[in-house]
Each structure stands twice: as C-alpha cells, then as structure tokens.
Symmetry: C2
Subunit: 137 residues, 2 copies
DNA sequence: TCCTAGTTTAGAATAATTATAAACTAGAAA
DNA sequence: TTTCTAGTTTATAATTATTCTAAACTAGGA
C-alpha cells in the first residue's frame, strides 16, 4: 500500500505539483500489487464511474502524459489506434492476444536474446521490446 | 519487376477482384526492390500526387485492409496513433527512432532468441516481433 | 492573506479511421 | 455482344482518439 505521503513525494520529485486530481490518479495506478494496463479511456471510466470524484478527460490525458514523461508509466507498442500504458516500468515484454485484445506481461528474464544487431551509427539502444502475438491452438 | 499479370494473379488468388485501383496500388506497393513502410496517409499522397490517377482515400483504406487480410502486407507495432504497414511480410524486426519517427527493417536472422516463454494454455505463438528503440549516443 | 504560476476544465478543434449509401464495373450468363 | 448483379469505388458523414484553448481555479511561497 503506497501511503499518500509516498505518492506526494513521487509527484514532487518529478516536479509535478501534487494536486487532488494527480494524487487520485496516482493512487489508482500505483496502489496495487499487480501491474496495470490501461488506455486514457479505460482509466477515465475507472476513475469517474458511479459519479464519484469527477476528473475531466482532459486532465486524465494531461496526467497520463505527465506520468509518462516522468517515467512512472510506460507506453506499450500496439497496432491499435489507441495508446496503451503500463504501470510496470521495468524493461519487460508482452503477449498480445488479438482475440481478446488483451496484453499480458512477460517477465524480463523470461526472454533472453542470443544475438541482436548493432544500432545505426550515432545511435544507441534505448529499449528493446518483444511482443509475442498469440492465436488459438 | 512484377508484371501486371503477376499482380492480377496475386489479387485473384486472394479473392480480390483485380480492379484498376487495386492494380495501381499493388504496383506502388510491390513493384520495388526494397521493402516499403507506409501509412494510409503517406500511400494516399504518393498515389494521388500531381493530380494523376485519382483514387479516393476510402479506397486506399479499404485496399490496405484487404491486402493486410490477404497477408500481402503486415501491420507494424508502434505507439503512434497511426497504422503503419510493411510490404516485407517475412517475419522480421525493427529499429524505431523516436527522433525521426522512422522505422528500419532488421533482418530476421539478425535477431536470435535464446529463451522465450511458453504461451498460455490453449494458445500458440503466431508471431514474435522485436522493436529496438534508439536514442542519440 | 495575497498573489501568481501551474493546473484543471468544458468544450472546440483536429486527426485517423470507419460507415453509408449511391454510382460504377468486372466478368459470368444469356 | 448485351445484360445483369455482386462486388467495388466514391464523396461525404460519422465516429473515435487525442490535442488545443482560454477561462476559472488552486497550491503554496511571500
């Protein structure tokens, strides 16, 4: 359980003023055991269901973008015209099931590369992401 | 050089009636040495520039979708709200450069996996795609 | 308590894609 | 060769995801 103080520190340390909205969104995202996959739209639904604490969609978008830039969440590769995010920021990989459109985490150590190419001149590797697409057996 | 006949056969073999528009698009896509990365929008520009052969944007979208379903092109994973396609349908991988937003092919044999996880029960692996994100050195 | 830069907000604007329904056409059948 | 029809194309409208805008609000230092 992440205490409110921890969350506020997390925000402060990335130069984000800890507003009511950001604290609430951060709680939703980080105060959980399992990693969480979401889009702006699903997060919005989760937060604003049952007419509780209303946070505008624009703020959801702003906050997600801010958290991404701060490195608290990461964006996942897909071939959907939608941005997917993951609260698991450790380098890791995904199964993608086109039937259910669901992503599942694959632990970093579950994938080991034997050979990868050299990056082009002047560039270095920032990240390596593996997506394994599934189909019915 | 793919002859018109070849292209017509390709279309027929995937149950696509060889219309003027489809033949023209297929030529643009497949009648070239190097593989080709594109979006619906870039393909549209390339085809309709200089007021030559006008093909409507809707047809571009329809045809790209049809070619994808037929397996003549494949969709690439990105984190852009845009669908990228590749005329290289052999299993292969990509460098992604966020600065230029350009994708570069990596040959299949340039990446060798030493260990990959077992797929979940009832599923098998359809495809494995590696994306290596770059940054300035 | 006051002040102000940073933040939130509703709603407009934009961008990518999909749907619609009328006009057109490939190609089989007469 | 003409006729017919299902498949295709098209312009345009609709939808979906996201970003922009500018006015109202607020955290927190002075």
């Amino acid at each position: 359980m992440q205490q409110k103080k921890e969350i506020i520190n997390k925000l402060r340390s990335s130069n984000l003023r800890p507003t009511k909205q950001r604290i609430l969104i951060a709680k939703k995202l980080f105060d959980r055991k399992e990693t969480f996959h979401f889009t702006a739209e699903t997060l919005n639904k989760e937060i604003n269901r049952k007419g509780q604490n209303k946070i505008s969609l624009a703020t959801i978008y702003n906050t997600v973008e801010a958290f991404k830039r701060a490195g608290h969440i990461r964006e996942i590769l897909t071939n959907n015209c939608k941005s997917y995010y993951d609260t698991n920021i450790k380098s890791h990989h995904h199964f993608y099931d086109p039937d259910s459109k669901k992503l599942t985490d694959i632990d970093y150590q579950e994938v080991i590369m034997k050979k990868i190419p050299n990056p082009p001149k002047g560039k270095k590797i920032k990240d390596l992401e593996v997506v394994i697409s599934l189909q019915k057996k």
